[in-house]
């Protein structure tokens, strides 16, 4: 590898040929401000359109300023990152961007977490000298995502996520010049497109142009409705990220405080989606073994590989793009929907209440869950199994509105019976976790032997596509894992071409899995945050007394009292679903 020498702010630096000025500066601790640029290390995600020109620097001997994010460093280069000329240029660029940006920061949902706002402050902008026309676009709302395009600064991060990472292709820059905007084809609303509501556009948007549909007010109304019993479930990835909203270090586990906060908010029963994750493993694990057994017996009609079905954006993705493969995914509902279904049947019966008297709220790291709980097949006589799904961010907002001092809360325990979970349920929150949880149970059921170790390190990590072979007592089981829908597409195309070597595949739409979900606290392009959340999830798992779903005592009694066996008629009715051709 050829190395080059250059100087940035008089500091010598040696980098590989091909390195950008921005990265060279970063390597010696010099921070050059950026706006449109974003890079998630290790996830192979980079947005570098060179569009905003905030990162300009002065290069000795070069007439114009150079955008650091997309200018290659060359041997002998002498760069000044903060000359008066560069600073003035940055400030002018920022003022021009702000001249076509609404100034409603005080009431913007992104306020305080907005990259544009932060940068304007960092650049010391106190006045916008350029008064001119402002773009006016109509707001687009959908079941999950709101597009407030007046706030778009055309960084095109969302477009990159939607096209390159997720390969969904809903968003594109359209029109020209002042009228340019990022929008779906024909400027239709998102709900008329093939959008999966994965929310990765929301996760990377530097402004308030893309946000989730805020349902906190509806939740508060339910909490203060004396005729309703309000039940809450919280997804595994939430506990590994919520603390960030209260200034805690990324990777801080706040499970106990989360429970305490939910109780103080007034939820009548504080339960855990992890319980439903254990239930998912019982059903999905049984389905995997059933298909595998039939396959080994020579049944040619059996569909393999089996694909996980926990992720609503993934489900919508294959319904639009691979409807010919819709018989392949597991029919098991997602943990959110299993929880809702069990809460409004088994648990409602225990309370001697009608399902209509219960309101089920989920706290999710995800915006697609808002869409999922509204799907027709997940309601009974018009009453949805899950009434509201709010994001980790919305929960943080609710806690703040309610004047709860989160960091000083004591650690409390989930309520029973739907609050007990195994470590297997916890790891659902990260890429690789669902299939590891399934392996822990399926192995023991299939071989009849106890696992000597429950940690399957070969299934963990952050690579976009991973594969591993697990020995099921002499039967080599090929497992595939993909996170990010573009990676999922690669595996699906193999299946379509009849070239897939896998028996089972886990798919999560968001890079990193649910820990990187579109409803999580914003990572602002820092992939380390995702890794720390992932480590927190595995830490929670290893701290659990019970690590396997089928050993969860409340799961055992749910089957004994109510469902019978996994895949029973009742289980099918309450815990399984079907998929639709949306092409």
């Amino acid at each position: 590898m050829e190395m080059i020498n250059l100087k940035i702010d008089n500091k010598p630096v040696v980098v590989k040929k091909g390195t950008t000025i921005l990265e060279a500066a970063k390597s010696i601790g010099i921070h050059i401000p950026t706006l449109c640029y974003m890079k998630l290390d290790d996830l192979n995600i980079e947005n570098k359109p060179g569009g905003c020109r905030i990162c300009v620097v002065e290069v000795k001997g070069r007439k114009n300023l150079a955008p650091a994010c997309c200018t290659e460093a060359t041997d002998g280069m002498e760069i000044s990152s903060h000359t008066i000329r560069a600073i003035n240029a940055r400030r002018t660029v920022m003022e021009l961007i702000l001249s076509d940006h609404p100034s409603d920061c005080l009431v913007c949902p992104k306020s305080g977490k907005c990259d544009l706002q932060d940068l304007a402050q960092d650049l010391g902008i106190r006045e916008i000298h350029y008064k001119g026309e402002q773009s006016v676009y109509r707001e687009d709302t959908s079941p999950a995502i709101i597009r407030e395009i007046n706030k778009c600064i055309l960084c095109r991060r969302c477009e990159m996520m939607c096209n390159e990472v997720q390969t969904v292709g809903v968003l594109s820059a359209i029109n020209r010049g002042f009228y340019a905007v990022v929008a779906p084809a024909f400027e239709m609303n998102l709900d008329h497109s093939v959008c999966t509501y994965c929310g990765q556009c929301v996760a990377v948007c530097p402004t308030g142009a893309l946000t989730e549909v805020d349902q906190t007010a509806a939740v508060v109304r339910a909490l203060y409705d004396p005729s309703k019993t309000v039940v809450v479930q919280t997804a595994p990835a939430v506990r590994a990220a919520l603390g960030e909203e209260f200034g805690m270090e990324p990777g801080t586990l706040v499970t106990g405080k989360l429970v305490a906060a939910l109780r103080r908010l007034g939820f009548d029963h504080v339960f855990d989606t992890d319980f439903a994750a254990d239930l998912t493993i019982m059903e999905e694990g049984a389905e995997i073994l059933n298909r595998l057994k039939r396959h080994l017996e020579g049944d040619k009609t059996v569909k393999l590989p089996i694909l996980t079905s926990c992720c609503p954006a993934w489900v919508k993705f294959f319904e639009h793009q691979f409807p010919d493969l819709k018989e392949i995914p597991s029919t098991a509902r997602s943990p959110q929907q299993m929880f809702g279904s069990i809460a409004k049947s088994y648990f409602a019966e225990k309370l001697n209440k009608k399902r209509e008297d219960l309101v089920v709220v989920s706290i999710m790291p995800c915006v697609a869950k808002k869409y999922e709980c509204g799907r027709d097949e997940f309601s009974v006589n018009g009453n949805p199994d899950v009434d509201y799904a709010i994001t980790t961010r919305e929960l943080a907002s609710l806690i703040k509105i309610s004047n709860i001092s989160f960091s000083s809360l004591p650690n409390e325990e989930f309520d029973q019976p739907l609050g007990e979970s195994s470590g297997a349920g916890v790891i659902f929150g990260t890429t690789g976790g669902v299939i590891e949880a399934a392996v822990r149970t399926a192995y023991e059921v299939y071989t009849g032997k106890e696992l000597s170790k429950v940690d399957f390190h070969e299934l963990r990590g952050m690579d976009g596509i991973r594969r591993a072979t697990i020995d099921f007592g002499g039967l080599p089981l090929n497992i595939g894992i993909a996170h990010g829908l573009g990676n999922a597409r690669t595996l699906l195309e193999e299946i379509r071409a009849g070239k897939s070597e896998y028996h089972a595949i886990e798919i999560m739409s968001c890079p990193g899995g649910c820990i990187g979900g579109g409803g999580q606290p914003y990572h602002h392009g820092n992939a380390d945050i995702l890794k720390k959340r992932q480590m927190a999830i595995y830490r929670e798992d290893s701290n659990k007394a019970i690590r396997k779903s089928h050993e969860n005592p409340y799961i055992i009694s749910l089957y004994r009292e109510y469902l019978g066996e996994p895949m029973s008629h009742k289980a099918h009715e309450l815990l399984h679903t079907k998929y639709f051709d949306r092409s």
Partner: protein, 169 residues
């Protein structure tokens, strides 16, 4: 948005044009030119079919269609009128000529007239700057056009004494 079903002949045209360019995504602009030349315009359904043929997202196709003013999603009139707004034409009064066309035909740029006979568009430099300002009706070029001549140009087509080549747009 109202949906129309594409005629078999239109689908055939699209498939053929795409095939001519090996169904390559990188040939999108050429494909759009080819299809617009034959169908006259590029409505949503046509763009969807092109996206399908080139295996790319329809949003990207729409992005390109809306980026270049040459492409249109609105059907052109029987006699499409284009006013050159290039620098030379502009400084020699193209805007006044355009305004006169708008006034006479009671339409805006990009619109067809209610009888479908005319449509109005602007373009950038046809390479006849010596004749500025330039107006094209179909393939026929009019040079040194003044606002006073506009009525007369329109009349040529209203009275049906059009040249054949003006129709081929």
């Amino acid at each position: 948005m109202p949906r129309i079903k594409l005629a078999e002949s239109a689908i055939k045209t699209i498939v053929e044009v795409c095939k001519k360019f090996d169904n390559q995504e990188s040939e999108l602009i050429n494909v759009l030119h080819g299809v617009q030349e034959q169908l006259g315009y590029l409505p949503a359904e046509v763009q969807e079919r092109i996206a399908q043929e080139l295996n790319m997202s329809v949003a990207k196709v729409y992005g390109v269609v809306t980026f270049y003013s040459y492409f249109t999603m609105i059907p052109k009139g029987e006699f499409p009128i284009s006013i050159c707004m290039g620098t030379a034409c502009y400084v020699r009064g193209a805007e006044q000529v355009l305004n006169e066309f708008k006034r006479q035909l009671k339409i805006e740029v990009g619109q067809p007239s209610s009888d479908g006979k005319f449509s109005l568009s602007c373009l950038r430099c046809v390479g006849a700057c010596g004749l500025a300002p330039v107006v094209m009706v179909g393939e026929k070029v009019y040079g040194r056009v003044s606002p006073q001549q506009v009525k007369q140009i329109i009349a040529e087509y209203v009275e049906g004494c059009s040249t054949h080549e003006a129709k081929s747009a």
